[in-house]
Symmetry: C2
Subunit: 231 residues, 2 copies
């Protein structure tokens, strides 16, 4: 009931009619038909942002890797598995988009070749080398596209959080980076709470620890204010 009340109060229409695209969840990079490389992203932060966006009146598209979550009301979800699929879906969606928020934990590398058949263990070999190639940088490609939307990145780090976040902001030409330290217990991947640092060209702003639903509303407000100034 409290959540519904908070949710109703949040219906400010501050993003009324704006088109927001959000990527969420992990990606899976196939090694063969059975095995893959993935990561511990639950998708919770991205889904919470999608819900907060829809509540703020936005037309929200959620491009999601494999998660256990349900699509929030009034959002459109596009399901993908690999970074390449997410890249393709994002560049297509971004043709018609005001704000792009990249929360997905995209694999930086994928196996050079995904085998068609299950790779058999060789009895005489105790080691195996997996050659990997870099995946396309979805957020950088969106930020460098012709119809560039307002671009928000996320940075999940285990050390030097602010320094890495600012590096990402500048290197990828973003409007904002939202950073958190995933090495801390109780926040970040798979947690229900999160605590972040907002980094933009003007400085850094630390937010208090909040549930991901509450934090999402705060972040949508912060994003919306900066978007309107930039527009």
């Amino acid at each position: 009931e409290l959540v519904e009340k908070a949710s109703a109060e949040f219906q400010t229409g501050m993003l009324a009619g704006k088109r927001v695209v959000i990527t969420a969840g992990p990606t899976r990079e196939a090694i063969d038909p059975v095995r893959y490389i993935s990561n511990h992203s639950s998708g919770k932060m991205g889904y919470a942002l999608a819900q907060a966006c829809a509540e703020a009146g936005a037309i929200c598209t959620l491009i999601s890797g494999p998660t256990q979550l349900n699509c929030p009301p009034h959002c459109q979800r596009i399901d993908v598995e690999s970074a390449q699929q997410m890249h393709e879906a994002a560049l297509k969606a971004v043709n018609d988009c005001d704000i792009f928020i990249a929360t997905a934990a995209v694999a930086d590398f994928r196996p050079l070749q995904a085998a068609d058949q299950k790779i058999k263990k060789q009895a005489d070999s105790d080691t195996m080398t997996l050659e990997m190639v870099k995946n396309p940088d979805i957020l950088a490609d969106v930020a460098n596209s012709q119809q560039r939307p307002f671009c928000v990145g996320f940075a999940a780090e285990t050390q030097d959080v602010e320094r890495y976040a600012r590096g990402k902001l500048e290197r990828k030409n973003l409007n904002m980076v939202i950073a958190n330290d995933v090495s801390q217990q109780g926040i970040g991947f798979n947690s229900d709470d999160n605590q972040v640092l907002i980094v933009d060209a003007k400085g850094s702003k630390a937010l208090d620890k909040l549930s991901k639903a509450e934090l999402a509303r705060h972040l949508i407000r912060e994003i919306s204010e900066r978007f309107q100034k930039a527009d």
Copy 2:
């Protein structure tokens, strides 16, 4: 109701008081605190076998990798993540075990070193090499342990199913191998149905396509019959 009825009819006590250890689910092999290698095993077959075992009167221990499933009634579950953790739990449990059923999809290889910190993408490198080492062979080590239980292996293959299954039976010195073709739609990983081939020293026996719950009861019967002859 039908399931409960079938379940009640299955309470034959054919494994009354026997101690069964079942491994289930995938393993996760850490690349760093964020990334891992895993596979598409849902754990459904192993959990269904654990339930059928308990219904048949066995004292069942389920050693499980990360899954979305609930522990069946009257089973004890031990949660693990990596192949090394599963190996340790299995060799401990097997000291006091009549039948060992290995359904888990254990990673053959793990990264040589799991990094303590998130590995940063190098801007100047378009490729990455992941060096991996072989994991211990849980089933082979159980089958070669001093107090060797009756050993049942599973083989998930994408080609030459029977040949690979028989190779596994002989190489690992097993009592039975239950094999399926995971390249076929609608059976195997993450499906609710399964269709298998039972391979033992005497020959091969194909079972019809069944739900994993029904198939589990058939398999427990097949395992129980062979176990009693071998005992």
